[in-house]
């Protein structure tokens, strides 16, 4: 991984994914280490994403590195008409690694081709957000003690949800069984079902999950946005089927954990928060350890 950009979850092999998770575990044991001393990390957020930016900045700070950058494009030279290429070429002179968030899909891959330092994609539109996927995997392994042979419920917007697509591709390495639960407007796209077929992985599609919740090892909730529906009546009819309530967890497995990439709107009722099965806030904390691991592996500072 040394000196290599991380743009898509597919850039890492199964072995490399496990290497990141193992090192993230080391950082969880011992989060503050001065290994980035003297290094400058740029965080270029061409669109605002406070949560992701703070998580990266926390990771860099805990490693003793310095941060430069901007938190939305209105404060950057991009507003003055500078091209992405010129911004990246300039900032790669000033830093050892660039963390980048951009609304245009494919912008991170392109940046990695013009940059002289590695790029970590912190989200390019609806395309990829690989560090989110790695922290999801870390959270799954942490709570289940393994990644292999798990029943994964993925609930909500399976059509547009970028975290869903990357998680699916990554979990395909570990023989997961997928339960896709969504309104018919937001079903998992055919290309992902083809991908699972090619890899001989089991999946099923459902419009509700109350009756099958006992099968789940992980319930991965995502936001269902009203504006994704062509017919507002359809939204009103289906919206309550995708709100997880504490009472629904009664018949779930004792090892079952609820994950969510956050921020949530109302798809997880707040009465779930106190359940020991709620894991989404810890999941966000795991993002810091995972990003520490990714940055140190790319800069070759992992020992």
């Amino acid at each position: 991984m040394k000196n290599r950009s991380l743009i898509s979850i597919n850039d890492y092999s199964k072995e490399e994914i496990l290497q990141v998770l193992d090192l993230a575990g080391d950082f969880e044991q011992n989060p503050s280490r001065d290994i980035l001393n003297g290094k400058v990390i740029a965080t270029l957020f061409f669109e605002p994403s406070t949560r992701t930016r703070l998580s990266f900045e926390s990771a860099v700070n805990r490693l003793g590195g310095k941060i430069i950058g901007f938190s939305d494009s209105s404060s950057s030279s991009a507003t003055k008409g500078e091209t992405l290429k010129d911004t990246i070429k300039t900032v790669s002179n000033y830093s050892d690694l660039i963390v980048m968030r951009h609304p245009i899909e494919g912008s991170a891959r392109y940046a990695s081709e013009v940059s002289t330092v590695p790029i970590v994609n912190a989200g390019d539109g609806a395309n990829q957000h690989p560090t989110q996927t790695l922290l999801d995997l870390y959270s799954i392994r942490k709570t289940q003690g393994k990644l292999e042979n798990l029943n994964l419920f993925i609930v909500g917007d399976l059509k547009y949800g970028r975290t869903v697509h990357s998680l699916l591709m990554a979990m395909a390495h570990f023989n997961a069984t997928f339960y896709f639960i969504s309104p018919k407007e937001l079903k998992i796209p055919t290309e992902y079902k083809m991908y699972l077929d090619q890899h001989n992985l089991k999946y099923s599609e459902h419009s509700d999950f109350k009756d099958i919740i006992g099968e789940a090892d992980i319930i991965y909730m995502t936001r269902v946005q009203k504006e994704r529906f062509s017919d507002p009546i359809d939204y009103e009819k289906t919206k309550n089927a995708y709100v997880l309530k504490n009472s629904m967890l009664e018949n779930s497995r004792s090892n079952m954990k609820v994950l969510h990439p956050l921020p949530r709107v109302n798809e997880i009722s707040t009465d779930v928060d106190d359940s020991e099965k709620a894991y989404y806030f810890t999941q966000a904390l795991n993002g810091v350890y995972t990003r520490q691991a990714i940055i140190s592996l790319i800069l070759g500072l992992d020992n």
Binding site: P103, E105, G106, R109, Y110, D124, G125, N127
Partner: protein
């Protein structure tokens, strides 16, 4: 007899290349892809000719021009079933078929309006993920452009 009639529709050439079985709708894409609008060679073409395979096909005959494979395979997106006849002294010296390459750059647009190649000065680049019904995966945004949604540049 039928064969003779067909021959008369587009005049014969002495030396050069005949590209047959181009879907009529994609004739101008093929002309663009091969840059035929910029060369000085004599070119004749016929379009909306009857074809059992394609319904309606086009033929292009280019005098004194012989393409290298890499060049000709670029038309695979617009005319995957095209057949080439290499003519020397009015005789078919060699027949060739178009081979769909593993990747393309330029030629078609990425189907995704939010892709960097549709928003910035970045050249399109694709990996071919299916060769039968040609379908392309964008190197940048990772979205798939299938035959039905191909727009030639």
């Amino acid at each position: 007899m039928a064969k003779d009639v067909k021959k008369l529709k587009v005049s014969a050439i002495r030396n050069g290349t005949v590209i047959d079985h181009i879907p009529a709708a994609n004739l101008f894409s093929v002309i663009n892809i091969l840059g035929l609008d910029h060369i000085d060679n004599q070119i004749t073409f016929g379009t909306n000719l009857e074809s059992g395979k394609l319904g309606s096909k086009a033929i292009v005959k280019i005098s004194d021009k012989f393409f290298v494979d890499e060049e000709i395979n670029r038309i695979a997106l617009a005319a995957p079933q095209a057949k080439l006849n290499i003519i020397r002294n009015y005789k078919v010296e060699e027949k060739k078929e178009v081979i769909v390459p593993d990747g393309f750059s330029g030629i078609v647009k990425c189907v995704n309006p939010k892709c960097i190649t549709n928003n910035d000065d970045v050249k399109q680049k694709f990996r071919v993920i299916s060769k039968k019904e040609v379908s392309l995966k964008c190197h940048y945004c990772e979205k798939i452009t299938d035959q039905e949604h191909m727009v030639f540049i």
